[in-house]
Symmetry: C2
DNA sequence: ATGACATTGGACCGTACGGTTAAAAGAGTC
DNA sequence: GACTCTTTTAACCGTACGGTCCAATGTCAT
């Protein structure tokens, strides 16, 4: 069974475990594992032991670095929003004509949400909890504020040159973009069950994407 | 403290509890209580004892009529969908011109979702669970099939008389209507935190409603 | 009036799970 | 080499919660 051979007094082996201290990496590892688990099962459904199993470390370390399950969950949320903000801020729209900028923003949002299902799921979970854990932090407000600002900039330019109607507000446009792009990911399960997964085949998804773009642009453009 | 007075040997009182047998009412009462609790806290977050507390009966009866928590949850879902289907089927759109019918359908859906937050929340919860509990039942498919049929009827007439573009499918329209109306309720908490609850003041909500209608109609109408 | 079903209520059970404890020892810093 | 912070391991604790049991009594149909 074991490699014991000629154990003549030599405790030998004793691998003398060597490891590097790296608090930040451990924290990050825990946060990533927790994000997966929370996105998968929600706050209440998530199991701390399961989070631990997903890490390279142990349950003990989770409590060493994070107060309790709920605090961990809040850190995960914050981290998720922070990451999204970072990704979104790399978009440069100011060089495009207003409607082109808007189109690009919609495309980006659609694709981004699509590619970040676990972020969407975290937000769904948090909405089920009525935003109780978001309410404390100001991070979300900041992230969304910057999203609004982006749309605002487009609107300002477009309303200036007449390519965007005067009666629509940045917040309304943002709301609509979010709604279509978010729902496309969040309600996929129930929609899939009702209409078959083929709705989300590449070609059909492309149609939904085009539809989304058109809906937003139609509402932004001045009426005929 | 108590009303004990002149208790001379009279066990009297003994209200001789009288009650009516009414299995259906008890079942319905449990389902209603469970629906509230599940909508409020999700499947995992809901507490069976809490459901019991919301009923006029006891935990014991919950298990008398329903196998276990998950079965109860599934019954609640089914019941919710059944109810919605009933409400929606009262809509008569066939007498209206296609675009008017579409507008009315959007208005109805917007208002209906708005007024049935707990139904929306149940669907959110179920989507967090990836539709695992919906997958077994065919009820949802039937409900949504009838929704599609309604849109289909409008599309057919509209494409006939040219008021609705040929390139849009009923499923796509339904998807879009659902997205906007659903999101308006489901993501209210996170949106409210970011932008303030005033977004949902009556006048602003009316604007969102109008925006929703316009977006759908724009996408349905033939392009300029 | 018999028997099947409905209802009540409370004590109870098993366990899954959030969180803690212990003790030891390596890493990093000065 | 002394001191603090980090990491490892695994057993352990307390309890909240899903679910059961008991046992009595009422209802209702035949």
């Amino acid at each position: 069974m074991s490699d014991i051979e000629a154990v003549d007094e030599v405790p030998d082996a004793e691998p003398k475990r060597r490891w590097k201290q790296d608090p930040e990496a451990v924290r990050a590892n825990i946060l990533a594992a927790a994000a997966e688990e929370f996105a998968e099962h929600g706050l209440t459904g998530a199991r701390v032991s399961e989070i631990a199993a997903r890490t390279r470390t142990s349950k003990r370390m989770i409590y060493y670095y994070f107060e309790d399950k709920e605090t961990l969950y809040r850190r995960v949320l914050e981290e998720a929003y922070r990451k999204v903000r970072g990704e979104e801020s790399s978009l440069d729209l100011s060089s495009l004509a207003p409607l082109d900028a808007l189109r690009k923003l919609v495309e980006f949002t659609f694709d981004h949400h699509r590619a970040n299902e676990s972020f969407i799921r975290l937000v769904m979970v948090e909405n089920v909890h009525k935003g109780r854990h978001l309410a404390t932090s100001d991070l979300i407000a900041r992230v969304n504020a910057s999203a609004i600002e982006r749309v605002h900039e487009i609107c300002a330019r477009g309303q200036e040159d007449g390519s965007i109607r005067a009666s629509v507000t940045p917040l309304e446009l943002h709301w609509m973009i979010s709604a279509l792009c978010f729902f496309n990911v969040s309600n996929r399960p129930s929609f899939g069950i009702s209409f078959g997964e083929h709705l989300f085949d590449p070609e059909n998804e492309e149609r939904l994407r085009a539809l989304t773009i058109e809906a937003v642009l139609s509402v932004a453009r001045p009426p005929r």
